[in-house]
Amino acid sequence: MLDKNQIAKRIAKEVKNGQFINLGIGIPTLVANYIPENLEVVLQSENGLLGIGPFPTEENVDPDLINAGKQTITMVQGSSLFSSADSFAMIRGGHIHLTILGAMEVSENGDIANWKIPGKMVKGMGGAMDLVASAENIIVAMQHCSKDGQSKLLKECSLPITGMRCVKKIVTDLAVLDVLPEGGFRLLERAPGVSVDEIKAKTEGKLVIDGEIPEMVFD
């Protein structure tokens, strides 16, 4: 089983040179720590920045420079700043190559639910609905099962969805899976020490297993 940092590390292997990437709050933010140094990528913050840098040192904290998670940040060389309307024009227009975000549920046709639990205080969708409706490639980072052991990879989402047929890949603590265009989760890799049978048992949606499933390799 992978911990949060390992999930982030595995997702980082999906990043390609030259990409513009939006990282959601939580595990996705950790992905930035594992992107290989030889890749040139640009991280977008949907409140209005291209080129997120590392967190500032104590003396460089600037309250006028935060990311979408409201954390203080810095900018890398070559950054640009813009309004939220321009930022979402960028997102909606398909200019961001890769969006990585967390989820509460994903369905076998790629629907994602990550904004609302009926009966609980609803905080809002923020930019998630715009991001999932627009990005050409969406990778979800999440736990395979909820805390009470229920699968989060479902035939259909039980929670109100954030977007339809949009998730392309999922990295969980147990596995890496593609969402097939015709529906179904195709198992690609197992986490170290996790068996195919365990993944089968913990995946409620249709699971497609083609041949031998390798264990993930970390460098």
Binding site: S45, E46, N47, G48, L49, P54, F55, P56, T57, E58, V61, D62, P63, D64, L65, I66, N67, G69, K70, Q71, T72, I73, L81, F82, S83, S84, A85, S87, F88, A89, I91, R92, D111, M121, V122, K123, G124, M125, G126, G127, A128, M129, D130, A133, S134, P160, I161, T162, G163, M164, R165
Partner: protein, 231 residues
């Protein structure tokens, strides 16, 4: 050039009335019009509709207006950081309309730009689409969304001039530029107010035509929600 300067926040907000629709720039607590918010708190206002990406925190920003029961309705994309907000919402005192962040930004831009409606993919297949027209363009589904306008827009910029031209700084820009365009009356507060002609016309983010009143804010606390540092 027309001089838009007013003395201070109190004068700037003098004619804000109960039951009006207000827009506030800012993302979280970053780039919010602190001085106008403080001045509004001193007024006897109720029934306000506030359009703002977030709702502040309990003791800062729009959160303080909630404490004083001035707000009837919030239109936002994310309202998570505010316990009083939650209490009023659950008790039915407060109405909230949640809008995807990009749709919110674009609806406000549309309000300023004279575009009464536009199609966006955000929210298709979700409850956000309930009751809205859905149409297919080039094989993809889109929702029809309407413009948003306000009686008063409150924006905060870094520098401004007496003609109302504004320059923002960092990610404190966020919703401020669009909201400046969508207010029947737009009130801008700035950290530094200079005479018209001192700002480079090429670097203006918000042209003065959108700003009806401008003043230099007395004090900027610039509270940080998530102070995150690297060692």
């Amino acid at each position: 050039m027309i001089n838009k300067t007013v003395k201070d926040a109190t004068e700037a907000v003098k004619d804000v009335f109960s039951n009006s629709v207000l827009m506030f720039g800012g993302f979280g607590l970053c780039g919010i019009p602190e001085n106008c918010l403080r001045a509004l708190l001193l007024k006897d206002l109720t029934g306000l509709t506030c359009i703002s990406n977030n709702a502040g925190v309990d003791d800062f920003g729009i959160g303080l207006m909630l404490q004083k029961h001035m707000v009837k309705k919030m239109i936002s994309s994310y309202v998570g950081e505010n316990a009083e907000f939650e209490r009023q919402l659950l008790s039915g005192e407060l109405e909230v309309e949640l809008i995807p962040q990009g749709t919110l930004a674009e609806r406000v831009r549309a309000g300023g730009a004279g575009i009464p409606a536009f199609f966006t993919p955000a929210g298709v297949g979700t409850e956000v689409a309930d009751g809205k027209e859905i149409r297919e363009f080039d094989g993809k589904l889109y929702l029809l969304e309407r413009w948003l306008k306000a009686d008063f827009s409150f924006v905060k910029a870094w520098k401004g001039d007496t003609a109302g031209n504004l320059i923002f700084k960092g990610t404190a820009r966020n919703f401020n530029p669009m909201m400046a365009t969508a207010g029947r009356i737009t009130i801008a507060e700035v950290e530094e107010l200079v005479p018209a002609g001192e700002l480079d016309p090429n670097q203006i983010h918000t042209p003065g035509i959108y700003v009806h009143r401008i003043f230099q804010g007395e004090k900027y606390e610039k509270r940080i929600e998530q102070r995150t540092v690297s060692k």
